[in-house]
Every structure is written in C-alpha cells, then in structure tokens.
C-alpha cells in the first residue's frame, strides 16, 4: 500500500511539465482574476457628434473626458458615420448634441442630449449610460447651484465584508473550487483510466493487492497535491491581495479535505464509466468544469438565473463548497452556519463512493 502511493507520487513528480502547470494554473488564474478582470469600466471609447459647438456642449464634453471613464475616440462630422463607428467595434457610446443645443438651453432652460450606446453588449451599455447620466447630473447641480437645495437625507453606505469591492473576494472561493475539481476529479479519473487503457490495470487486479488499495494508491497523492494547491491559493490571496481571514483556518482546511474527497470519489466514478483517457478527460472537462465555472455563482450570481438552472446548480457540489468558503473565510462564520452545506457534501461523497463500488463489482463479475 505505502509502496503503491510512493510509486504514484514518483510518477507524478517526475512529470515536471504537468507538475509545473498543476501549480502554475492556480497562481496564474488568481493573478489574472485579481489584476486583470475588473468589472468597473474605464477607458470607454467615446465618439462625440457635436453639431452645436457652443460653450455648454463643449463643457459637457470636457467633463465627460475628464471623468476618467471615457477617452475620446473621435469627433464625428455627420450622422452617417455613427453606424460605421460602432461596426468597427471600439466605440461604445456616441454623444449627440443637436444644432442649437446651447441656444435652447439659454432660451428655454431646457435642452436635449442624445446618448447612443452600443447595446450589443447590454451590460456595458447600461453601465456606460449610467456613468454618462451621473456626469450630466453633476453638471446640472453645478449650474443650478443657486436654486436647488442640497439633499437633506445623508446617506452613509457601508460595504460589508469587502469595503474596497475587490474582485478577488468573489474569485478566490471560485478558483479554489475549480482547482480542486480539476486536480482531484480529472487527475484521478485520468490516471485510473490510463491503467485500463494501457492494460496495466489487469496486471494490478490479478496481483494480491485489493482493488480498494489500488484506488487508494491512486487517490492519496492527489489529495496531497490538491491540498498544496489550495494552500498556495490561500496564501496568495492573503499576502498578495490582502484578503482577510475572518474564520477558523482549521475548519476551512477540514472542509477543503472533505471537498477533495468528494471530488476524488467523483473522479473514481467517472473512471468506472469511461474506457479511455480521452473520454475521461472530456467528461470531466465538459460535464464538470464549465458548469462549475458558470453555475457555482463565481462569475454570475445564481440567484438571477432561470428556475431550472437554480435547481441544477443545487445538484453540483461546487456550489455548496463556494458557500462554505465564503462563510468561513470572509464572513468568519463557525460550523453552526455551514453544517447544512457540509452535510450535503458528505451525502454526495457517500453517493459517489457507493455508485463506484457498485459499478466496480459489476465489472468484476
């Protein structure tokens, strides 16, 4: 048994390239998420079609560009250009001032700005529009300073758990989950099917080693590797992104081990249903990874999805683990607030293990 585990371990460690990637993936991912993926907009390309060119329109344009959100892509000379500008792809918003913008504003105290956004990306269009409106509102407050009274309700906002609204708070639990799924589920299912594909499984099966020992031998090294990965991610999030660590580290690590065991039992199960490595990989990849990314609530909030998808998400282990990590790590909750999720994970683990045993027995008979 020990010899087995050591053999597996040596095989894994000898494959330098895989090992590098195994530990490289979490590091690169978390750095990408932490530094590159921001949901607040900046450098939005703006085109201005100013037919009036008066003091007011120019002041509004200046304020737009000074806000830091927008950069001027170009000034348009006629309305025909608008379609082209969008179709080239860079410009997200066009600001249109009518012919007598300033004149009307002075005469009637009322004028119109047309804002045209590229809503092929509706989310960004909405955000860009709301930025624009805020800037124009500010400008209005400025020119109406003598007539409008300031607001009396003094709103104090408090961003609980994540005052600086850092995106890593969302991504760290998600990435830990993905990495554990990747390493544990994929790696075990692949390494077991590999033995099958190469025909070495039969050699092992006729040896005096018991099947469960073979499986354990395969699984234990990955438990350790996954665990190291998880710790690396936690360290980066703590030291590089200065994430807080509100709850009990011990509890978090225990839950992590539980999830790793769950992922491994899922991996063993996949290997019992696939004949070749290719099938095992594609199954783990397609059936698990994309849903994990998209349904675990780590990029998109699950709450807003159609009912049926919410139901599907309940069936996926990652969702529960993400909740557990957020609760312990960020909110600092104790076991009493995560016991339900923990129980679900335990239940799923038992399910997969018994399914695999059943499958395994059928094959031997």
């Amino acid at each position: 048994m020990r010899i087995f585990i050591i053999k597996e371990f040596l095989q894994i460690i000898r494959d330098r390239r895989s090992l590098l990637i195994l530990f490289g993936i979490p590091v690169v991912q978390i750095l990408l998420f932490g530094f590159a993926l921001k949901s607040e907009m900046k450098n939005v390309h703006l085109a201005i079609f100013d037919q009036s060119k008066d003091a007011y329109s120019q002041e509004i344009s200046r304020k737009m560009l000074a806000s830091g959100y927008f950069i001027l892509d170009r000034n348009l000379a006629n309305a025909q250009e608008m379609d082209d500008v969008f179709r080239e792809g860079k410009v997200r918003e066009i600001l249109v001032f009518g012919n007598n913008f300033g004149e009307e504003l002075e005469k009637n105290g009322n004028a119109k700005i047309q804002i045209i956004t590229d809503a092929s990306d509706p989310n960004t269009a909405n955000i860009v529009y709301s930025y624009t409106q805020a800037i124009i509102n500010d400008y209005l407050m400025e020119i109406n300073a003598t007539t409008i009274k300031p607001l009396m309700i003094n709103i104090e906002t408090q961003m609980r758990y994540n005052p600086e609204l850092k995106s890593v708070f969302m991504f760290v639990p998600g990435i830990i989950t993905i990495i554990l799924m990747l390493v544990s589920t994929m790696m075990t299912s692949i390494s077991i099917t590999k033995e099958k594909e190469m025909g070495t499984m039969e050699v092992l099966l006729v040896s005096p080693v018991k099947p469960w020992q073979i499986i354990m031998g395969k699984v234990v090294p990955y438990v350790i590797l996954s665990f190291i990965s998880a710790i690396i991610i936690l360290m980066i999030s703590y030291f590089v992104f200065l994430m807080p660590f509100a709850g009990s580290l011990g509890l978090l690590l225990l839950e992590t081990i539980l999830f790793i065991v769950l992922a491994l039992s899922l991996g063993v199960f996949i290997s019992t249903v696939s004949k070749t490595q290719q099938v095992a990989m594609l199954l783990s990849m397609f059936a698990l990874l994309l849903p994990t990314i998209l349904l675990s609530g780590f990029i998109f909030p699950v709450k807003n999805m159609p009912e049926i998808l919410i139901w599907i998400s309940h069936l996926l282990p990652p969702k529960w683990f993400v909740i557990i990590i957020k609760n312990i790590m960020i909110k600092g909750n104790g076991f009493m607030l995560v016991w339900k999720e923990t129980a679900i994970l335990v239940g799923m683990t038992i399910l997969f293990i018994s399914l695999s045993i059943k499958k395994f027995k059928v094959r031997l008979e």
């Binding site: 991912q29 105290g109 809503a119 990306d121 400008y139 609204l165 696939s274 159609p306």
Partner: protein
Amino acid sequence: MKTILYLIQKEFLQIFRDKMMLPIIFAIPIMQLLVLSYTATFEIKQIELGIADMDQSVTSADLISRFKASPFYIVSVIKPNYQTLEEQMQKGELEQIIYIPTHFEQDLYKGSEAPIQIITDAINGSAASLMSAYSMKIIGNYNKDFLVKEMMMPKEYINIQTEVSFWYNPDLNYKTFMVPGILVLLVTVIGLFLSALNIVKEKEIGTIEQLNVTPIKKYQFIIGKLLPFWLIAMVDFIIGLLLARFVFMVPMLGSVTMVILVAGVYLILVLGMGLFISTISDTQKQSMFISWFFVMIFILLSGLFTPVENMPVWALWLNIVNPIAYFIEFMRLVLLKGSTLAHVYHLILVIAIYAVVMIGLATWRYRKVA
C-alpha cells in the same frame, strides 16, 4: 491524396467506435450552449432587503413603500431591530440592510440632516456597487420629492434631458450577447482537446511507431489528423449557429457565409495549436494540462465575460496572441452589428496568419525520426 483519405477514414472509425464519444462531441456542447447561455447574466433583481426601521414614523413608512414598489427589491423583513437583521446577513439571508434611525422624520421636518445607513453584502463587489447605487437612487428621489412637496422647493431650474437609445439590442437582451461567445468557447474547447490528445495518444500507446516507418509524408499525416476534427467542430459550430438563430433569436445582421468561412479558418488555427501541443507532449495527461492552461487564460482574457478595455495594459499585450479574443470579437461584430468585411478584415487577417503559423509549427514539430 488517397493516403490522406485512408487516414481520415481511420480517425473517424476510431472516434465513433467509442460509444461515449458521440454524445461528448455533439450532445454535451449543444446542451451546454442551451443551458449556459442562460446563466450568463449580470442582471441584478430581487435583492433581498431588510429594513431596520427605528423611527416607525409616517415618513419612514413612506420611504419603505418606495422600496416595496421597486422591481429590484424584495423587502423581506422590516423590524425595529438592527441586531437580528445583521445576523440574517451573516447567514446569507439578506443582501442589503437599510437602517433608518430614530428621529428620522423629526430631523427632516426640522430641516437638519437626517442620516440613513445602507449596509450591503459586498463579497461580490460589482453586484454590491449596483445594489448600493439602486438604493441611493431610490432614497435620493424620495428626498427630491420631499423637498418639492414639503419644503416648497421651486420646480424650475435649468434642465438637460438625456435621451438614450440602445442600438442593436434595444431590449438589452443579455443572451444575444453571450450566445456567440459561448459558442466560440465550446467549439474551441472541443477542437483543441480532441486534437491535443490525438497524436500524443498514439505516442503513448505506441501505434505511432508503425505509422512512422511508413513512407507517409508529414503533410499527409497532419492533414489526416486535422480534417476529421475540423469537420466535427464545423458541424458543432453550424448546429450552434442554428440554435443561436432559432432558439435564442440572435439577430444575424452580417453575412452568415462570412462567419462560417472565417470559423473554418479559425478552427484550423485551433486544431493546429492542438496538434502542436500534442507533438510536444509525452503523455495525454500532460497535453491536456497544457491545453487547459492556455484555454483558461485565453477565455478569461477574451472579453467573453468582462470587457477587454477594463484590463490592464499587460493583459492587453497578452491578448495579442489570444485567438479566442479575435474570433469572439469578429463574431459579435458581424452577427450583432452587421459589420462588413471592410470593418473586420484586420481580424480575419490575424486569424488567417495565426492559422498558417500554427499548422506550420505542428508540421515542423512532428518528427518521424527521434
């Protein structure tokens, strides 16, 4: 040419001999396109709100009714007790709490400042800033109305109206934006993984030896490997386009023929990359890892989920070699906005050059002699 046909026949036989492969190659991606396109929404609605109304006055009730009327909110608890609400947030039952202190009404009528606190669960930072903006807007509007109604503020002041038009997607339907992107993602993953696992699988099992002692030409070998996967991925792509059109009602303003042609070139790029990875790897596991590593980075930086211009400069530099970014941009421009060749020729050019480079690399790295 005949040799290539025999090789292609062999690949197809092998792919479909495994009964699991057919569903993996066709059914799963289609299901994923159907399912995942619905998941990709940033919309915030049904915010679970708790209100700690310490004032219990007519004014505070009035303000609360504004929240009840908003489509964004579900006011789930109103209690004159902050502590229990705070616990509920800790448990994850509330996303936002509004704290209205005692003397709120009094302060307003006295004309002095009346404080209100908004506490938002900000683990998801971008959602939190939206939620906070919504509630500030509701309170701000209430404040303005209060000023006009109760404090006799003049209604006349200089006003600039903004008139917004959402071009190409007036209903702000998020799915039409996501579907082309997810389709690109799916065919990329299918193509890359099938090809990346292929040559290395023959290496691992040893069958490549037998091929290597034959007088097969390198280009015949590469084409024989490439074409079957290209056909599979193209079929996937076209099924996906049909679903996009008829299930998701994605407008297809531009030339669909051009989209399909460029997809063909793009897939050559992806498969070439996969075969290249396959030739430099020793085992299937390794090859899968390398593919996964790059696909992950490419996807995250591609602009599929978050707009590219928000990224730091180094990420934009990385994007120069990101095939997924080019093709997603191309798809969205042509399908959603009807861009023509004149608008997107630079993207096509990059994809084509990239494809040639990848195929060249794969052919060069494939060694018949160790």
